[in-house]
């Protein structure tokens, strides 16, 4: 049985944080899809080594960490696709 509590709350917090990720045109760094793929792989590995933290016995992964990572990705995809508007002198 998978417990819904940590999955829902973890997703919510991740979604809030992920929704603030924006492509910044002023920055020379360009974070593409590959960054998020690496991030989700690393999150799965970290969750596996955490084990069923905090003492949930439902799965070999830390559910909260996985759902937070998924929430960040969903937040980025749904609300974080716009770029940060460049501030001009007139504004």
């Amino acid at each position: 049985m998978v417990y819904a509590g940590p999955i829902i709350l973890g997703f919510l917090l991740g979604f809030i944080l992920g929704s603030r990720i924006r492509d910044n045109p002023e920055s020379e760094m360009n974070f593409t899809t590959s960054v998020y793929i690496v991030f989700i792989i690393v999150a799965i590995v970290v969750a596996y080594f955490f084990g069923p933290f905090p003492w949930y016995t439902d799965s070999p992964f830390a559910n909260g960490l996985i759902s937070a990572a998924v929430g960040i990705i969903f937040g980025k995809l749904i609300l974080g696709r716009k770029s940060i508007p460049i501030e001009t002198e007139e504004e």
């Binding site: 917090l13 991740g14 905090p54 830390a62 960040i72």
Partner: protein
């Protein structure tokens, strides 16, 4: 900051955020909780603030966002406390656990946290405290950086004025 650090900081901050969220979620049964988890998430944001600076930050942290998140945290805490007061007569009564068996079963089920311990409202309190702490700590650094930028602009203008004289 160096390019290597700029390449590393954003993905690392995402992982640190996940770890902070995990700390918040385990707050009712492990060391840690809302404050510690919120501080870890704020640490991830501050990491990005320092590496990228305010203008080149990959997170769009605005004043409205910070104010909204902090308000949700504070109001959520007050709401959970008042819910206990109205339903049982005790402020911050743990409605999801209902140790004294004084609230209806529907209300108990409503505030029950679905995990093996059935910790009631404690994980929800951790959640809202986490929101407040993450905003509080990151807002301090945000304000300092904005002030520095504002002050820096003033200094540049003063230098230009001196050069013109």
């Amino acid at each position: 900051m160096s390019t290597i650090l700029k390449l590393f900081a954003f993905p690392a901050s995402l992982i640190i955020m996940c770890y902070g969220i995990l700390t918040i979620l385990g707050g009712h049964i492990t060391p840690g909780g809302g404050f510690q988890g919120g501080a870890i998430i704020a640490g991830a944001l501050i990491f990005c603030f320092i590496v990228y600076g305010l203008k080149k930050m990959p997170f769009h942290i605005s004043h409205d966002f910070l104010a909204g998140l902090e308000s949700v945290g504070a109001l959520g805490f007050v709401f959970l406390g008042l819910a206990g007061l109205f339903a049982s007569g005790f402020f911050m009564y743990n409605l999801g656990v209902d140790l004294y068996h004084i609230v209806p079963i529907d209300i108990r089920n409503l505030f029950d946290y679905p995990d093996p311990l059935h910790a009631g409202i404690i994980p929800y309190l951790n959640f809202v405290v986490g929101l407040k702490v993450l905003v509080g700590l990151s807002a301090v650094v945000y304000a300092f950086l904005e002030f520095k930028e504002y002050n820096g602009d003033e200094e540049v203008e003063e230098d230009k004025a001196e050069e013109e004289d």
